[in-house]
Symmetry: C2
Subunit: 286 residues, 2 copies
């Protein structure tokens, strides 16, 4: 496995290669990332993983400085997963600055869900992802459905700017408890870790109601809220049901219109903010 920190050296190494599969990450890799690398490995002759804790996507007061970093374990996971190239740039090699050019996604997509409490977050994500794509020039880029809003926004950014890359979305990987894998799970105490799966169980409560025929978004949202309200350690930021492509809030669900909806939740446990989501109806992300 080759390791690069300089964009130009990576670019020179990759020049002329086709069929690159790219997995952009912020490190602190877990089995969710491993599943992205495995899918890329199975579909692409060359797999590039990037590890970069992107300061552009953290707001003031957010957890940029304490975001978990485990470079050696990350390298091991990438090597074991069969990655060909690890790209570990720095803010310096990427020439990041607060005053640089920004890729600003549609406001309608960044002002909902997590965007409401994280202004600038998705602009920071979009800007870094476009930069990385311009350096790596992959044929396919792999993202996890756990970050459902990020997936929808990046799909739109790639289309809007005509970036020629195939976006592959992989299912959320969960612990046996149902808790979605997240680098931020490391922040949780044992007691908090016992409560965290209730986000998923709340979403499941709505799915059960949905399976039994409840199609009213307000009722589905309420099912989640009623579940998580039983746990005072959870402070809910939002529970929303939105179109999976446009992120527009949905006022009705129909099995016949073919809408793919995201039922999404964000909540704090102590000082840790967690997110999770389910896709409804049961169409699998491509």
């Amino acid at each position: 496995m080759e390791i690069f920190t300089a964009p130009q050296e990576l670019r020179d190494y990759l020049r002329g290669r086709s069929g690159i599969g790219f997995v952009p990450t912020m490190g602190a890799l877990h089995q969710g990332h491993a599943s992205l690398i495995a899918r890329a490995r199975s579909e692409c002759p060359m797999v590039v993983v990037s590890i970069f804790v992107n300061p552009l996507q953290f707001g003031p007061g957010e957890d940029l400085n304490r975001y978990p970093r485990s470079p050696e374990m990350d390298w091991q996971l990438c090597r074991a997963g069969g990655a060909d190239v690890l790209f570990c740039p720095t803010a310096e090699t990427l020439a990041l600055s607060a005053s640089m050019t920004q890729v600003v996604p549609p406001l309608s997509m960044t002002s909902v869900l997590c965007g409401r409490s994280r202004p600038g977050h998705f602009t920071g994500v979009s800007t870094i992802v476009v930069k990385l794509l311009e350096i790596v020039h992959p044929q396919r880029v792999y993202l996890g459905q756990k970050d459902g809003q990020q997936v929808a926004i990046l799909r739109r950014v790639l289309a809007d700017l005509h970036l020629e890359v195939d976006l592959r979305v992989c299912p959320t990987v969960r612990l046996p408890s149902g808790l979605a894998m997240s680098s931020r799970n490391q922040y949780l105490s044992a007691a908090e870790l016992a409560i965290a799966p209730e986000l998923y169980k709340g979403l499941q409560a709505a799915r059960v109601a949905f399976d039994r025929g409840t199609m009213d978004p307000a009722k589905l949202i309420e099912a989640v809220q009623l579940h998580v309200a039983q746990f005072p350690a959870l402070t809910v930021d939002y529970v929303e049901l939105v179109d999976a492509i446009s992120l527009s809030p949905l006022t009705e669900l129909s099995l016949t219109t073919g809408i793919l909806a995201i039922l999404a939740i964000a909540a704090k446990i102590g000082s840790t903010r967690l997110i999770d989501n389910l896709l409804l109806p049961y169409a699998s992300p491509t």
Copy 2:
């Protein structure tokens, strides 16, 4: 010469081609554009010209609807100039909308010179140019120094987003009177056309002062202002001296520091807004 309107068809046609030289234009082509095409022809095995009057870069109340359009003459000029491909997309084929993803250049570069009276203009320019570059994937892109602020901003956008394309800047082409070639010159009446060259003559007055040793930006600016003030038909929007790369206003000029400065002017004649600029010291744009 092949003509395309659909981005995907053009992309398919160009796939696998290297050494593409790209000249993005808004049509109403003149000898300035011809000089860009000629330079591309001399440097690149394949030359692509795009013609698209980009609505994203026109503000409300600007001249989008009356912007000159001369498709047949444009095609003739491109064919005569040896272009291999003409790309004439539409707002529909480019999937433009007011709510789409935007490429926003640094505020420090868009809030000076023309940016002050044209909010959003350079975001519109940057967004469309990134889209076109993603479709065409040229090795070199050709721009005219007449749009000095546009050149500086796009150079920065390309660097910030790691777009791998060589920016080639060509000198401003002028009429014998000194008037810089511009599609908007078509708006001028005969009387206005007689006054328009005074923008350039004002810049030249500053250059004469500079050649005689005047290094104080305020004095150089004043030299331009004193000249154009003689013509009441000219309403000056700005005369500014800025760093050619950062567009920061300059408080001093030095031949030894190697600063390349732009002395720029914008003025209205009747309802027509014209711009021009000179590079000081005499370093040629690359």
